[in-house]
């Protein structure tokens, strides 16, 4: 099973949902991903501009607490897990997904890299304004029936669908 190229989305979804057990029982927090960008980004920024640590928001995220660094470790683990899964299934990926050529109407890697950078920037700006991403608001917030998270997830899909229809070509 570990060498299969694809699992049913339902099996994979159950595995991901079960991760809430160790998150709540051991770390006393819910699954999330986007705070780790503040922890790492803030740390790197503090090497160039030490005064950034005087911003309470940054200081809170960079602090050596279990929750902060558990999440950094989590996203590093995600990269390792995806790498292992890929190797076990013997799959290989081109450096850029083939859909981008159609979505952008251009095969230029430079164009895609620039869009990926901008997309990442916008994504984290939005996630931090909303105080959560697809994991924190989506997986965890909705499972906890949080009202604000449900609003945030609806907005995410609305923004995502609008951008996909207006800014990208049909893939």
């Amino acid at each position: 099973m570990l060498t299969q190229k694809a699992w049913s989305p339902y099996l994979a979804g159950i595995v991901i949902g079960l991760l809430q057990i160790p998150a709540f029982l051991i770390i006393e927090t819910a699954l999330g991903a986007s705070s780790s960008y503040v922890t790492i980004g803030g740390l790197i920024a503090s090497w160039i501009d030490p005064s950034v640590l005087q911003i309470d928001y940054v200081a809170r995220h960079v602090a050596a607490t279990g929750k902060n660094w558990w999440q950094v470790a989590l996203v590093v683990g995600v990269a390792i897990g995806a790498f292992l899964s890929m190797k076990l299934s013997g799959a290989s990926r081109a450096p850029i997904s083939r859909i981008w050529q159609r979505a952008l109407g251009s095969a230029s890697p430079a164009k895609r890299y620039a869009l990926a950078f901008s997309g990442g920037f916008i994504m984290l700006l939005g996630a931090r304004i909303a105080d959560g991403c697809t994991s924190g608001h989506g997986l965890s917030g909705m499972a906890q029936l949080a009202v604000g998270s449900t609003v945030a997830v609806a907005a995410m899909f609305a923004g995502g669908i609008a951008a996909a229809m207006l800014l990208l070509r049909r893939i």
Partner: protein
Amino acid sequence: MSLTLAMVVGIAMGIVFGFALEKSRVFEPGIIVGQMQMRNFIMLKVFLTAVATGAVVLAVLNGFGYVKLQPKAALYAADIVGGLILGVGITLAGACPGTTLAQIGAGYRDALFTLLGGLFGAVTFSYAQPALGKSFLGQGGGKLIFTDLIGIPYWIGALVLAAVIIVVLVAMEAWKPWRDELGNDVDGDSKSARPSSPAKIRAVAAE
């Protein structure tokens, strides 16, 4: 808990998370952009299944008093404005903050730029946060959950949510079987031909 132990737990959980993201194919730009163009529903299937599973898990853990819920505060303006911006970013990146790392692990080079852009975005927000927190984006209520609104225990609401999601997923699967949505190279892309050999993959990349 010690920092080291928290990080060991984090790495272990992350490996499972990344493995499941990769096997489900939900980290593929073709699946994520496909979902946003309403032509591929694997992302919604994985997402809703994980939400339903989490709801059942938390209904049990919270219902028997083992854990406290950790909902985020309901800041409606921030949730709407931030959510809309985040959604646009997800589409342009073809990734979420978490799946960006899965893309890097799977070998997508553009995801490194997504990560870099994400770090810049998080730092930019951090500089603006003291001002934004005082603006309309910082206004809102407390940690509100739906079952408190109607005055029933959380575990009942969570089980109802899970049941509703299961019905939706059964209908969705009947309408669009997941195997038909995987694409020719399990990347959510049904239009490109399946690469026949590694040499051809390199040739496509070099174009």
